[in-house]
Symmetry: C2
Subunit: 640 residues, 2 copies
């Protein structure tokens, strides 16, 4: 163990390093256990405690505080019980002798001093500290070694079949995380006494797509601390506080709600955000239908969507998706889901794959269509007048007419994950098809990009996965050329620190709930609605991300993907040459990328024949990651 | 404006005050805007930044940093851009003259120095700072004044009929919060220039019952910061980290899961925690029934509960409750809910009110039963053999037999909020009735307090409101004398800082999902499942609450409620004499209290006759609150 010694008596934990950032930030990725050298002088109580707090804010584990035994200020007297409450022992040592004019005398005094504090007997306060550090280390090792078994004995993981995960080796023990990487316990890595048992693991799923500016970003820790210190949490209905108000205003004015949304409704996660969105849409539809809907119909209103959709795991969010892998006792799918055309890159060529039912309507019939570039695929204005657009619209129109006669559920909303269906298997939907769905559902009024009112069916964009720059775009609405009536954001919203979701709604939707009767209100809330910590962290995240989005780092990446013949362009953090080369590899069936997402399907060769395809997804979890992407490309994801 | 000057060049922000706590903690309740006096000496960069971070951790707003212009260390050179990035201007002043041996000379030099830095022209750096402070103040005032209108224009509140809240005066502007109080903007309070426009408001609903140790508790801010700095958030399935593991282990071993639960399943709020609980119970039931349940029956399995139940606002949690005020388009109540007997204190007497259907079965028929004391009502072992217990069991048994023939839903789980139904209107249920429900549902095997397997129906305790000492009890299970098979906790779990929920389950329930097939797993998760910040804050909360629970403060309160003739006792933070006196007041219909909760119904006299009852609930949001309860009793709740 090499403890990191934070010496605040001279320059301190936050003293600048040659790179310009302070010591604490500079050493953070190494995550050493720490000995804090306290200050014995006037003001030393305060600077020792503040230094301790700055260390904690960066996640450092402070094992021990040491300082000189100054008989005048007696700082150790206050600090010992103060730190004992925090389980950190304080040890004070005699100060070194005062310097004299005589060099020989200085030498003798210093020698005597060191002999006294480090005696041959190997006993005394300095050895107590060393033994304590050994104990701390041993205790940490015991924790690391025992965590897999203890976890298997007490935790019930989400989405995990515990019957398939019974081995301790199957448990990833995360000791800390920084930037794009976990620091994980790896017993094989530490077989020799000298070697560290902690290894670096690339967070290939961006921790379920939540990370945006890297793990343990100090600005987010400080934002969380600031709001915790000012408010804790405060009740929200009929109340307001700056973090929530500022977040709402920026999301509506300069964020994904720009130009269409008038209201922000806060909740805790994508699933609750979608439940709120669905309640908004279904009520807006019911109100418009007046008294024509009976109570049974209201309970079974349906949604229109795409096969492969996923909107979360609470029953309401599940009911907006097909029965499939994600199902359970109370799940009752309510609606109709189209099989979508998809986009991918195969052997360097961008292709649109059209499902058989739609392909049968194209003339000549075809199931894959070659596209000139990715940017062309996403250039909706250019594609709106193509024959394929007519085929899409015709197919959707006829299907809806047939559904009106035969579907058990009266359709009341259109619900889409724009551009990519994440949990469904990173399905990149042909954006023209989603645009066609919206146009058909909205009817002749749809071309207006800023509808003053919803028409046909209310349109929900579930942008929990795709929104806030996961795909390089703040929102997919400008690219699709149409605004939703309701949209939902979570995950990246808080930069990957704490849960928070927001549902944005147009004024027309909001007004469906307005009356003088409390019963008509949207009676949905969670205890921690708009919690200040989440809102403050979200504001800090958006500050950073918005700065990055106009930075040279991003523009360099965008430039590589720009085609001179298209105005509307999509881009990826992944180099186009790399993506092209990957798509041409023998075992790779297809590749797709947008923004931080790289998805590819690998052929599974059995008996010489390709029997099935495995999907892999890799994310960049830090938006400023391009700077050292070269060294990390294609490290395996920690979670498939 | 009176800025708080944090002078770190002498003793610092964390220097101890006479009370023993440090300056920062001591002044926090006053929440002054702050000028940080930085350190110009060696190590001053670090101590200035650390002091700033300690200030932020307590929520202080740092408007300005000032320090001496030391030409040797030049700390201002580094600190100016550092703080500019954080929107805090740094101003440096010439240092005072060095002291000489000549007093007259000292006087002249000092006079000259002060004249130079505070010139008659009223210009120069110190005036720049003052103007900046004025600007900050003006900007804060503009925010406070504009927040009501801006909030009404952008926020969609949970549970609020915006059609009834159109006036700016209806918006509570929360500027900060500390301990049991909000600091709220009150324009009437600040009509004169001298008066502050911020008033103190008692958080009478404990911010939707989330608060446990007071707002902005520094231990929780530090816990949040510590986990944010060490992990940020990290993906949870098949992974583990210490904050989550430690929390799971303590909840299972020493917490509400003690003696019966084997697994902890993390989610984001009470509603998602209950969805998980319901999915667990319904699956366990389905698995036990083997192939006898068809897919339609599985979608419509029912729960048994009590009228007035509330389990959250996601559709699954709603479907476990009756149709009522909380309803919406997709809500389809699945189950049967008994009208419960209730407990209250009227005119100083404890009474049990039995609903007509049950009262008709008592001999002689009666609708209110006098009880000797609150403790007797909650002494279940003593009451199990009373005639009333027989009446309850008989009534429940016959109702269930009738339901088996006539109910549209096959009952698959018993779901109760033990002791109190909070959102339903603070209904204190006769605990004997809940015990009888469990006993009847479980059948002859039920008396075992630690069932090795569930029998009859799986039993869910929704302890989101009542659990973790809200009622003075860690869990209601020991009081009811039976353990659940599944239970849910949230709200107090994180001491009222960030959202986090946990669902505990017995091993028998867990094993219903075990197989070698992923499809059989509980496929429910949220991106921030078991987020380290929430888990670390929860651990810090439980540390503090557990210490308080055995403190003299609590024991004093408990002693007041102890009756010598009962072993099992319930108690309240509210003084029994006060509760007794309140119950005897003219306008008060009834009162009830347990732990931190005080609920009373006030008669609404119209034309001399009592026409309806209004309910009021007051909570103590800080568990250590008894110390100064006298000055705050019965301040109005900020949210009815």
């Amino acid at each position: 163990m090499t403890p990191f010694v934070s010496d605040i008596s001279s320059t301190g934990v936050h003293s600048p390093t040659p790179s310009g950032i302070t010591q604490l930030e500079s050493y953070r990725s190494l995550f050493f256990p720490t000995v804090l050298v306290g200050d014995h002088k006037l003001g030393g109580i305060s600077s020792t405690i503040s230094s301790y707090e700055s260390l904690l804010l960066r996640g450092y584990i402070v094992d021990s505080v040491v300082l000189f035994h100054d008989e005048f200020y007696r700082n150790w007297e206050y600090l010992t019980p103060y730190f004992a409450e925090r389980n950190v022992p304080v040890t004070s040592f005699d100060p070194p002798p005062l310097q004299t004019a005589n060099d020989d005398e200085n030498f003798i005094l210093t020698e005597k001093y060191y002999t006294a504090i480090v005696p041959k007997s190997e006993s005394g306060p300095i050895f107590d500290v060393l033994h304590h550090l050994d104990d701390c280390h041993a205790s940490r090792m015991r924790d690391l070694e025992s965590m897999p078994r203890r976890t298997l004995d007490s935790i019930w993981w989400p989405f995990v079949q515990h019957g398939l995960v019974e081995n301790e080796n199957d448990v990833t023990v995360i000791d800390s995380a920084y930037s794009d990487f976990f620091s994980v316990y790896d017993p094989l890595h530490g077989t020799s006494h000298q070697q560290s048992c902690l290894g670096r693991q690339f967070d290939g799923s961006a921790s379920w797509w939540t990370q945006a500016i890297g793990h343990s970003h100090p600005s987010l820790s400080l934002a969380a601390a600031r709001a915790a210190g000012r408010y804790g949490h405060v009740i929200f209905p009929q109340a307001t506080h700056l973090p929530a108000l500022r977040l709402a205003e920026r999301l509506l004015r300069d964020g994904p709600g720009k130009g269409w949304a008038s209201r922000a409704y806060f909740s805790d996660d994508g699933s609750t955000g979608m439940e709120i969105a669905l309640k908004m849409a279904l009520r807006a539809f019911s109100v418009r239908k007046g008294n024509t809907l009976d109570s049974v119909t209201k309970k079974t209103l349906g949604v229109l969507g795409l096969k492969g959709s996923y909107h979360g795991d609470t029953i309401g969010a599940m009911d907006a998706c097909e029965d499939g892998v994600f199902t359970c006792e109370w799940h009752s799918a309510k609606g109709y889901w189209f099989d979508p055309p998809t986009v991918s890159i195969r052997k360097g060529r961008v292709v649109i794959t059209v499902p058989p039912a739609i392909a049968a309507e194209t003339l000549p019939a075809m199931s894959t269509i070659n596209a000139e570039s990715l940017s062309w695929v996403y250039d909706i204005p250019c594609r709106l007048n193509t024959p394929l657009a007519d085929v899409y619209r015709g197919y959707i129109q006829r299907t809806l007419e047939s559904l009106q006669k035969h579907c058990g559920h009266k359709l009341a909303a259109l619900v889409v994950e724009p551009l990519v269906m994440g949990a469904g298997g990173m399905i990149f939907v042909d954006p023209l098809f989603q645009r066609a769905m919206i146009d058909v559902v909205r009817g002749p009024r749809s071309p207006k990009h800023t509808p003053p009112d919803w028409s046909g069916l209310p349109v929900i964009f579930d942008e929990v996965f795709v929104g806030l720059y996961r795909l390089g775009l703040q929102s997919s609405a400008p690219l699709l050329g149409v605004n939703p009536d309701i949209s939902v954001y979570a995950k990246i919203l808080t930069g990957g620190l704490v849960p928070l979701a927001v549902t944005l709604a147009s004024d027309a939707i909001y007004k469906s709930f307005l009356s003088k009767d409390k019963k008509d209100a949207l009676l949905h809330g969670h205890s921690y609605s708009a919690h200040p910590v989440g809102c403050e962290v979200a504001n800090a995240t958006l500050d950073i991300v918005e700065k990055l989005a106009s930075s040279g780092l991003w523009m360099d990446a965008q430039r590589k993907w720009t085609h001179c013949n298209t105005k509307h362009t999509v881009w990826s953090f992944w180099d186009p040459d790399f993506v092209n080369a990957l798509s041409r590899m023998e075992g790779v069936a297809e590749v797709m990328t947008l923004g931080t997402v790289l998805a590819f399907k690998v052929k599974d060769e059995t008996g010489g024949r390709c029997t099935c395809l495995y999907r892999f997804f890799i994310f960049i979890s830090e938006f400023s990651y391009l700077k050292d992407m070269d060294q990390c490309q294609l490290r395996p994801s920690s979670h498939p």
